[in-house]
Amino acid sequence: MSKHIVSPLVYIVIFVSLMLGTAITIWAAFQNFGKFNIVIALAIATIKATLVVLYFMHARYSPKRTQLVIVCSVFWLAIMLALTLADYDTRPREGRLASANTCYHV
């Protein structure tokens, strides 16, 4: 597809960043950030995934069409998650028998 050849040096840098990201994820999981634990974990995972897509999968050097395909996949995933969760989160009282506000960590 792309004529661009990514140099092994870039791959190594990305690999090291991914390792670093993994280490930070594990470290952060053992700290208590309250509800931000999940946010941090997902943020790091997303950064890692982005690095893989951009460099290992060459999306950065790919034609616009490929980049559009990637954006679409993320967009549709977001539609599915966001609109479903929007229903759950705005129910006046979640009728289910349990709820997120557990006092497990009290």
């Binding site: 597809m1 050849i5 390792m19 053992f30 790091i44 290992f56 996949s73």
Partner: protein, 243 residues
Amino acid sequence: MHRTGDLYGHFQTLEQQKETAALGMWIFLVTEVLFFGGLFLTYTINRHTFSTAFGIGSNTLDIKLGAGNTVVLIMSSLTMAMAVWSAQVGKKKLVSIFLIATLALGTVFLGVKAIEYKQKFDHHLVPGLSFDMKYHPTHPMPGDDLTELALEKEEVDKAFAQDPDINAHGQLYFSLYFGMTGLHALHMIIGAGLLIWLIRGSFRGRFTPQYNTPVEIVGLYWHFVDIVWIYLFPLLYLIDRHR
């Protein structure tokens, strides 16, 4: 289809053929994103509702094995990327070496996964009739860390007092755990099959700077499988490690 050299008859040029194959793989990956997406949504809603049970379930997973596997898989992504590079610059021997390395790392990952599954079987944590979150804390296995186990017992007992259905809810966690990692492992196995096919090709020197499409698109697939794991690891192993 007629085929002339590397070019299939319904294409005009090699370039067109390569573009087509890559676009096809990308679009396939889009469907994969949505496929796993349905599972992630199910996971999200249930984790939201049953955070206690999910926390306990998550803490029974072996974080060392999980983290180790993460490292192994990312390394395999690196070797896969290097295989693509080797093909692009025409280092035929390196192509084979890197592909074999990728396959080896993938196999290690699957082996570790098998060990983890075996553990869950032994601990009665596989969804089904014998599922019991209280089993393992009261039946130590050789080599268990007993203080860790005592902590787990306390946690399970406490949760059980508050939620007699904790086994059902814990089973939801493990259903999703096996569902998601199982589907991921299935993708790894398919990927390993594709790698074997590539390695055979590379031994015959098939991949050159002019023609390396198979290596590239299998690479895309392999990296995608890696990305899925990048999300699975924190979502399954690291829910509640800061207790």
